[in-house]
Symmetry: C2
Subunit: 617 residues, 2 copies
Amino acid sequence: MPRRYLDLTPLPEALAVMQEAFIPQNHVETVPLTLAVGRVTAEPVYAVHSVPRTDIAKFDGYAVKSRETLGAKDQQPLPLGACARINTGELLPPSFDAVVMIEDTWDDGGRPWIRKSAAPGQHIRHAGEDIQAGELVLPKGHRVRPFDIGALATYGITRLAVRSVRVGIVPTGSDLVPLGVAPGPGQTIETNTLMAEAYLTGMGATCRRYPIVPDDPDRIREAVRTAVAENDLVILSAGSSAGTRDFSRDVVGTLGEIVFHGIAVRPGKPVLLAKIDGRPVLGMPGYPVAAQTILREVAGSLLSWWGLSASPDEELDVRLSRRLASDLGFDEFIPVSIGRVSGTCWATPHPRGGGIQMAVVRANGYLHIPAEREGIEAGEDVRVRLTVPPATIARTLICVGQRDPALGELGNCLSDAGYLLHCCNASTIGAVLALRANTCHAATVALPETRSAWNDQVLKLLPGVDLLRVQVARTELGIASTGHLDLDNPGSLRFVNRPKGTPARALFDEWLDGLGVDAGGITGYNHEIRAHGAVVAAVSSGNADAGVCTAHMAREAGLRFTPLGYESYDLVIRKELAADKGVAALIRAARSSELRAFLNAAGRAPADGASGEALPA
Amino acid sequence: MPRRYLDLTPLPEALAVMQEAFIPQNHVETVPLTLAVGRVTAEPVYAVHSVPRTDIAKFDGYAVKSRETLGAKDQQPLPLGACARINTGELLPPSFDAVVMIEDTWDDGGRPWIRKSAAPGQHIRHAGEDIQAGELVLPKGHRVRPFDIGALATYGITRLAVRSVRVGIVPTGSDLVPLGVAPGPGQTIETNTLMAEAYLTGMGATCRRYPIVPDDPDRIREAVRTAVAENDLVILSAGSSAGTRDFSRDVVGTLGEIVFHGIAVRPGKPVLLAKIDGRPVLGMPGYPVAAQTILREVAGSLLSWWGLSASPDEELDVRLSRRLASDLGFDEFIPVSIGRVSGTCWATPHPRGGGIQMAVVRANGYLHIPAEREGIEAGEDVRVRLTVPPATIARTLICVGQRDPALGELGNCLSDAGYLLHCCNASTIGAVLALRANTCHAATVALPETRSAWNDQVLKLLPGVDLLRVQVARTELGIASTGHLDLDNPGSLRFVNRPKGTPARALFDEWLDGLGVDAGGITGYNHEIRAHGAVVAAVSSGNADAGVCTAHMAREAGLRFTPLGYESYDLVIRKELAADKGVAALIRAARSSELRAFLNAAGRAPADGASGEALPA
């Protein structure tokens, strides 16, 4: 039986043990100035020469002898005596001690005239005015900015000593294929090392990705040996868990010493840290979001400890929009979307789970729940870390509710107006409650067009709230079938249905009810299929005789279609927010011809006239 | 006579005219995923396939038939019946419908046992759980983050269409040499295009730097023609002013149409924008800080308008620590250092001027004074833009006063403790007033060790304030001479002196006073030299017979030395701030052996025992 790794180290303890085991290495690399942006200086940088090197003209004009200009005034202009035309930055000729700007002269009879005397030293830049030779330009530990480059070059610096950490990244897994190769059945594209390289390079590390190593202890051992010899830190991707093919622990155990295996963090638990030839080897979990957590919290901490990056994620104090449970004893990291609604910044969580990469893509930050907390209540003040520039939060619109392809397209339309649309998944009731608590800019609801749905599912829960209802899409739903629907004999049909709570299911139930047919007698009534497309596929392939789906899909597949009614996909907005510029842009985007073209292609455009109107609900 | 360009366009008008003249180009470039970090998506990105593609195991363990596990409980463990060992991510074999985690089993007699039944679908990741084929991954206009790369690769995306602007950067100037070539007399290293490339590349532009073009209208014309043909935007560095060698306006005037020449901005006034073959050609001023302003405010605005960067400088609301005057009608940009003192963020300005690049290197932000303001008062609330990550402000220590090499070294020592030391230049009185207003963490003062200096220059201005005085350096000063100092006959000596207000000058005056010598009788008493080193050079070379400088320098140069006394270079700190972690680190750094080693090498270490002690003043 494989080993259990449940002897979990708490995260803070794991980081402390790591820092003790791997003291800063002070590796230095010298790079040409043009490649130094974003790198961190390893040593203080001093000016090679003074700037300016000598006294020079500050402006275009004339070098003059100041005593010869005495007496010039508005009422008594004077021609310049001895003078020399001089351009900005040029050396003053000997015996001249001031500059008159070209703008302060005019030509009369081939000679320049002035109406103001020049003070000694006027418009001269003195040697060393900007910097003296040997003066400090940058301290050590400074992250080089683009404009620093110009100054360094001006001061005679052409190469910079910067902190350097060589990171070797070794992907393992017999089922992996590299990016660009189409995966066969049971194969997966190897993506975690791409992400690790992008992230750690951004921190200023020098990364090297090695070829994929199959699940073979001997080959893994060889790859680890090579990587340890060639790098300051080695990251072994996947294989650190407890599966039958997880050889990382055994391999690194024979080559060196295990520092820890398994930390109390979610996601990211099955992480492994070992010391081989004095160097750290980090076994990174295979789930992508777990891998991200370990890259950020463990590898990132080590590189910071080694002095690499001076640019941590920005923090923001916000309020949590809904309750989050968390297990005592685990440090948990949860992707959130943050937006400012009526002056308050709210963070709304996305689904957790090491495999849900889209949650991180959709999020603009994450929340850390420390091990000693069992959860965080709705409305509680929390500090989040951002994965976007803080300035973008003011342009972020939070939409809570049903996700729909139309919403993605709305986001595209909005990006032209400079706004970012963030969609946090929730049931209809979850969306309506978010609207009630005023934690989102808009709720999205998908409702059947029945007499009571809007009232029962939305209005009843929002007494006294003035609402706008903006129809985004309208979809005809019905039954796709290969032959005639014999509902006098429903047991003869093999059905596939849509999940409980969907508008399609509600319309189907209402229809059956109207016909007086007992749902219990329909074979497959409880066979729930999550996507309209999969319903059509089941009917087309003959696995089912009939199923509930959209009219557009049924017709495209050439199936017979029995209409049941319409689903309305709506934005619901508090009326008081309609004046908000971002919300106004959202409503405009819902009305745009760009969105309508997208919906037309899917047969889902709202009826003419009703299209995207913001109607008081 | 050269043309005057004083027909200045206000900045907001210039930007509006520019946007009207050059509508977004929507240039697109397709790059491999691994090069896409930091680029902005040109089109929405959709998933190529669903993830997971099929139902797979969520954990390492056993695939089971859930109905066969019914009845297992703590009091009644069961052996697993039909089961298959399965690893995370593997396909479920047909007929199995749940996964039991390896941690929830144990081995007994070669069979795995369980003490809990498995629910149907347990620990299975369903097809499309992360994303469905065709679902939106990223909207257009999204700046790609490192972790986005992993998700995109997972979803089958290998190349990305990103926004692209090709920028051609053409340096002009007969006096320029490229970086790496040692400049001869009157020559300058060409640095502005390096800086432009670094800055615009950071915004996501694709930059190309052309070779230096001498000040020859025909050659400039040829270079501009080539660059316009090969790029979307051309930046012509220098030559847009009104000097005799400024040909930019004439050249671009013959090739196309001038959009504006000269805008009411400081620094950055002599900027030129033209339209040639429909493309923008920007004449960037030669002063580096002016060039930076134009890159940021004009070129940067154009690229943002064209959709390039979604990452503007971060803003912060702070208070201005001292009055800033500004000319009505000019938009002015002033480098500032921002730090948080006793809970309030203060911005302290650095010197202005297009040539003072160090001001920008030393600053962590800048302040925009709009054209309609004549200045900003001390204590006024202002919004600044940051040139560093906002999180670093909390780790920034502001020091106001005399600059000194020892302070730079202090900054180096502090960087190991994670703090950034910012030094804003001020006279002793300016420093003391900043301390009084509590706008800095420490003042730095250089005082002669006389009976009255500390009292007169510091204490008198800070009645009732509890202070700490931390001596950083102690420097012996005196008179360096080639021969005997015959002060009975002072007229026979040619002197060089240090500027008024310096401790050396004060000690010299006190010494003369004590001897009863009349300063007026000393030749060269009023010949002020700004650097100690230059005094030594003047005496060594025989240009002067004697001069006031440091003991260390005089002795190193082998000159005779007559001691006058000591200068003390001190940090002055409000006692109430000493508990602040950063200030405590500053005091520790002043006591560190690292700093003492640096000071010893310059003969400036404080006396033993007194070294860096924080003494109540």
